[in-house]
């Protein structure tokens, strides 16, 4: 799996079972809305039914009259809230003014929370909430991206400067194509709805179980919005039932639950309904225009890529959509553009591989169309235009084993047996199509801290305020710590999901292993230094004349690298010293600055399309991934499988539809917002190609949460073209579009 030299006993690279697995399969893992205590109150949210306007009145009398109702909270009786934009900012803020729940009478989007009914139990709260009546002064709204394109403005994003002269190069190109792709709104829909349980403590402080990807993000938000002292707010998130970006920003159930708890001085839980899971962030609807020009033999000469994405009227949400078109292939004439279209909707939100999922979809479909136009094999076209450097940044890659992805993926898939012509392969009444695409994602690292503590009994506890949203963070950090300290994994515990732990960035962007893993490793190294100091001072210490660099930590011992028989058990050192701990604050190494860092993939897809019915089955996927060292292949594979499933959902099923007359979603349920079910998913093979990288971080590991989805939807769309001869440039590709 990796070529880094490791002792055989090292847990790095081993397919360990999830350390939290037994808790999850027995129902003992508790999520944010599952911490109960006597007297806990339940909040039910009343949402706006108009997309824009003002609240004239809220009549909560009927709700208040229901026995068991404790409070009907609105903008009129809420507690004091901060009144400046800065206080509502968070670690994943968009440009502008974040929404302020129950702040005033303005209605900015359909589904906006306007009241919270708090009662002794869930049923009473829900029933009473249905009795609240709201009178509005509705204003004309616009929720349709296409209808508002003329109101687009430049996105507040730093795009790469244009290079060369794309317009001239397009004119001079032997072959050029111009295409437009449309993507719908998608919602994250983690299985666990967003929930916050605020436990009101005797001293007035708040212990909050929140569904979040960053406990410290929620902590700071509550502290600032409610003008509280830092020590009055602690956020816990031991388990998160999926997030995919939906927990990157504090969602409104958190401030609503806190408001009620502060007003009533009681513990309160607010859990959103599945319908309300459609009333905050999402992947934005987007139009993309691409023009590609190439020589007769397929060498790219020009790329222009313009994206038009919806945003809210109060924030400009930007992501890296078009940048990929300036880096994935070698091309000297590139111009990129990115426009925002403000609508009467909530602000979009990062969703699994934000930006790349959309931008690479368009680029990789366009590359397939260019390959067809030039009569070149789609894989050959990619190899022909392979980029050894990132031209956006003018830097070489720290590692880029994408060629190995192409080669190994194609071989496993059997790509060389593909016929060029569309509609040329068939299996009975089903048309068979083979398509491929490239995927790319940034390999980022953020500052992070971790603490490592050895107890007297030799158990190691390592902690950082990150989360495990299904990513395997508990397990992978345990492995990294065990490897660093030379201890068996059974002797190591990793703690996360607590805002009081050492600082961690948001769990997102595929940078957790890179950021927190590095901090874990460095905390263990610092702890080794302390152990060594104690060991040196022991009577007749075998290490008296040694320096730390000569010592290795293996099998629960400190020992000299050159003479391993000179060893001392960590337990013996601890017997002399008592418990020891060390903290590390890790930062990206400066040597990264000279390089571009990215993960890559090659995705190969087989579809079967029923010729008469138009029904589409993704019968086979091979995803070959270059992501540096894989710390736990079992969990990394699962991440890629999940990404592929997401890509299939994006290609064929997922779309949140708006009734623009009402400015409101129509299919806000899991019955009508379709995600893949078990029977929709068939063979998926994951290959991790060997990729050595000593620049990206000391672990050589790049992260795999995002790369699995990138490119998949394009490979599916390209395969559907190959099967049917029909180019569908608007997702999802439902059967009606093929008939």
């Amino acid at each position: 799996m990796n070529a880094h030299a490791q002792p055989d006993s090292s847990p790095l690279g081993r397919p360990l079972d999830r350390v939290d697995g037994p808790l999850k399969v027995t129902g003992q893992a508790r999520y944010a809305g599952e911490f109960n205590e006597g007297g806990l109150l339940y909040g039910s949210v009343v949402s706006s039914t108009i997309a824009r306007g003002r609240v004239l009145s809220i009549d909560g009398a009927a709700a208040e009259a229901v026995p068991g109702v404790q409070l009907v909270l609105t903008h009129l009786n809420r507690p004091r809230l901060a009144a400046d934009d800065d206080s509502y900012e968070d670690m994943d803020s968009a440009e502008g003014s974040a929404i302020r729940p129950l702040f005033n009478d303005r209605v900015l989007y359909s589904g906006q929370p306007l009241a919270l009914v708090v009662a002794d139990n869930l049923e009473i709260a829900r029933h009473a909430a249905s009795l609240v009546t709201i009178e509005y002064a509705a204003e004309a709204h616009q929720t349709d991206l296409v209808a508002a394109l003329d109101q687009a403005h430049a996105a507040p994003a730093e795009l790469p400067e244009p290079r060369g002269d794309a317009e001239a190069a397009l004119l001079g190109a032997a072959l050029s194509i111009e295409l437009e792709y449309a993507l719908p709104i998608e919602h994250h829909n983690p299985m666990e709805p967003h929930a916050s349980t605020v436990l009101y403590q005797d001293d007035g402080s708040l212990l909050i179980y929140d569904k979040t990807q960053g406990p410290q993000n929620s902590q700071q938000y509550v502290q600032h919005v409610f003008l509280l002292d830092k020590e009055k707010v602690r956020i816990l998130a031991p388990f998160v039932g999926g997030a995919f970006g939906s927990g990157l920003r504090p969602q409104y159930q958190l401030p609503l639950a806190v408001m009620a708890a502060l007003v009533l001085k009681r513990s309160v839980r607010v859990t959103l309904t599945r319908q309300q899971m459609f009333t905050f962030g999402y992947r934005p609807r987007m139009l993309q225009r691409l023009r590609l020009g190439c020589t007769a033999n397929g060498t790219l000469q020009a790329i222009t890529h313009d994206a038009f994405a919806q945003t809210s009227r109060f924030e400009d949400f930007t992501e890296h959509v078009v940048e990929w078109s300036g880096m994935l292939y070698h091309c000297d004439n590139v111009r990129l553009g990115y426009q925002m279209v403000p609508l009467d909707v909530f602000t979009p939100l990062d969703m699994r591989a934000p930006g790349a999922t959309e931008g690479v979809f368009a680029l990789e479909c366009a590359m397939d169309e260019l390959a067809c136009a030039a009569a070149i094999d789609p894989l050959q076209l990619r190899l022909l235009n392979f980029a050894d450097t990132n031209q956006n940044e003018g830097k070489p890659y720290s590692s880029k084993e994408l060629r190995a992805c192409y080669a190994q993926g194609a071989e496993r898939f059997g790509w060389d047996r593909r016929s060029m012509e569309p509609r040329s392969m068939r299996d009975g009444h089903q048309l068979v199509g083979w398509g491929m695409a490239t995927g790319v994602w940034e390999a980022m690292q953020n500052p992070a801290s971790a603490r490592a503590a050895l107890a007297a009994d030799g158990t190691l506890t390592v902690s950082s305020a990150t989360t495990d949203i299904g990513t395997g963070t508990y397990t992978v950090m345990t492995q990294i710590a065990a490897a660093a300290m030379g201890l068996p994994v059974e002797q190591v515990e990793f703690k996360l999901g607590d805002s009081s732990l050492p600082t961690a960035p948001l769990q997102g962007g595929s940078f957790t292993v890179s950021s927190v893993g590095t901090a874990v490793q460095q905390a263990c190294t610092a702890l080794q230094g302390k152990l060594f100091e104690v060991a040196q001072r022991l009577p007749q210490s075998p290490f008296a004349g040694a320096v730390l660099e000569q010592v290795e930590f293996v099998d629960g011992q400190l020992r000299l690298r050159e003479s391993p028989e000179t060893a001392l058990a960590i337990a013996e050192v601890l017997a002399a010293s008592g418990p020891l701990e060390a903290q590390a604050d890790a930062k990206p190494d400066e040597k990264r600055d000279k390089f571009a860092t990215a993960t890559h993939s090659a995705v190969f897809v087989e579809v079967k399309v029923d010729e008469a019915l138009g029904s589409i089955q993704v019968s086979r996927v091979v995803s070959a991934i270059a992501a540096g060292r894989v710390v736990n292949p079992k969990m990394a594979r699962n991440q890629i499988l999940g990404g592929v499933v997401w890509g299939i959902g994006m290609a064929l099923q997922e779309e949140t539809q708006i009734d623009h007359n009402l400015g409101r979603y129509m299919n806000h349920s899991l019955a009508e917002y379709h995600i893949p079910v078990n029977a929709d998913i068939h063979d998926i093979e994951v290959i991790f190609v060997e990729e050595n990288d000593d620049v990206v971080n000391a672990l050589g590991s790049k992260g795999v949460g995002e790369i699995g989805i990138v490119g998949v939807a394009s490979a599916v769309a390209n395969a559907i073209y190959h099967a049917t001869g029909k180019r569908i440039r608007e997702l999802p590709i439902t059967l009606d579009k093929l008939l």
Partner: protein, 173 residues
């Protein structure tokens, strides 16, 4: 919280007294007619292993075994439990000894976030008892009422395929 602390249990004239076997233990409960099995479990009995993903019978996260048959706890009223046998995810393991399906789910990494997992496992236990699934495709079809947003379906299938014979051998639940 124990059942005896239920507010409605003592004071509400609408409450119904029911007897059931819950995870092998006989229980007497007072429940209100509008309370679902899912809310009873999660909010009143502190059995939070059964998950609420949609509350509309659309996701399967709340799947429990009622007289050995898999049902959506969110679509079943608590009063319907009278005289019945209810098994939840908390009742599958035998002490520290995991159920073969629970073991297989861990070994095959058949989940990520874990939120759909109790429902998947209970559903698979029910599936084994139904005796219908003979092939991998049939398992896949008959497990399609249990959504997994993390997309761990292939691993879920691997786990169930492996553990189905042992699960059938023990007579279902």
């Amino acid at each position: 919280m124990s059942a005896t602390s239920l507010r409605e249990g003592r004071s509400d004239p609408a409450a119904h007294s029911i007897s059931l076997v819950l995870n092998g233990q006989p229980r007497q409960l007072d429940v209100l007619p509008w309370t679902t099995v899912l809310d009873l479990l999660r909010e009143q009995l502190d059995l939070t292993g059964s998950k609420k993903g949609c509350d509309h019978g659309q996701c399967g996260a709340c799947t429990v075994l009622l007289d050995g048959k898999r049902v959506n706890a969110c679509l079943t009223l608590a009063v319907m439990l009278d005289g019945r046998d209810l098994t939840t995810i908390e009742g599958l393991a035998n002490g520290d000894q995991l159920h073969p399906l629970q073991e297989a789910f861990v070994r095959h990494d058949a989940f990520q976030c874990g939120y759909c997992t109790p429902g998947q496992i209970c559903s698979a236990v029910g599936l084994a008892r139904e005796g219908r699934a003979q092939s991998r495709d049939e398992i896949s079809e008959l497990m399609s009422g249990n959504l997994c947003r993390c997309g761990a379906y292939n691993n879920i299938l691997d786990a169930i395929e492996e553990a189905l014979p042992a699960t059938r051998g023990e007579g279902g639940a």
